[in-house]
């Protein structure tokens, strides 16, 4: 299971590199959206490893509110573009 976790961390580093490298705001938003859902899933995965279900609840909250926050940010960026 630890090997799987290391593979997940590696899978999360790629969008981080992409978010760092790219200048276009929408490519950066794509990378950040990908990072947020991966982080939520990793939190759930770790809560299974540790059998601590408060962390599991945090993972479920990250999946829901994290994506909702990104949606609001996307709309704000769109309005800023319109100005």
């Amino acid at each position: 299971m630890n090997l799987l976790l290391i593979a997940m961390i590696a899978a999360m580093l790629i969008p981080m590199y992409q978010a760092l490298k790219d200048d276009d705001i929408w490519q950066k938003m794509l990378a950040l959206g990908s990072i947020s859902s991966k982080a939520g899933i990793m939190t759930l995965f770790i809560s299974v490893l540790r059998d601590d279900w408060m962390i599991g609840a945090v993972g479920a909250i990250i999946l829901t509110v994290g994506n909702a926050g990104l949606m609001l940010l996307a709309h704000i960026i769109k309005r800023m573009d319109d100005l």
Binding site: Q18, L30, A57
Partner: protein
């Protein structure tokens, strides 16, 4: 048998993750990346959570909640990002530029 099945789900899920992010690094348009990324992320993550569900069935309420919120919110995020990143005039209905 249960362990083998859950590891199979984990493996396929992580493969989808890597496949989705490999498209992210290329030089393609936002919408192309968005499609492959949201498909890979959502599907891969759901497979991983199903793998967790098989491994620990006693916690099915929380894991089912994670699957549902993933399926809804990740897809919705894809729509919103596609809508907001597109510049065509037909998307400017909510806020006509002269009112801003």
């Amino acid at each position: 048998m249960i362990d083998v099945l859950s590891y199979l789900f984990f493996g396929v899920g992580i493969f989808f993750w890597f496949w989705g992010t490999s498209h992210l690094v290329g030089k393609r348009s936002v919408l192309f990346k968005l499609h492959s990324l949201s498909v890979a992320d959502t599907l891969g993550s759901i497979l991983i959570v199903i793998g967790l569900l098989i491994k620990i069935p006693s916690r099915w309420p929380l894991l089912t909640l994670a699957i549902i919120s993933l399926a809804i919110w990740n897809t919705m995020l894809g729509y919103v990002l596609a809508h907001c990143s597109s510049d065509e005039a037909e998307n400017q209905k909510e806020f006509p530029t002269e009112t801003l």
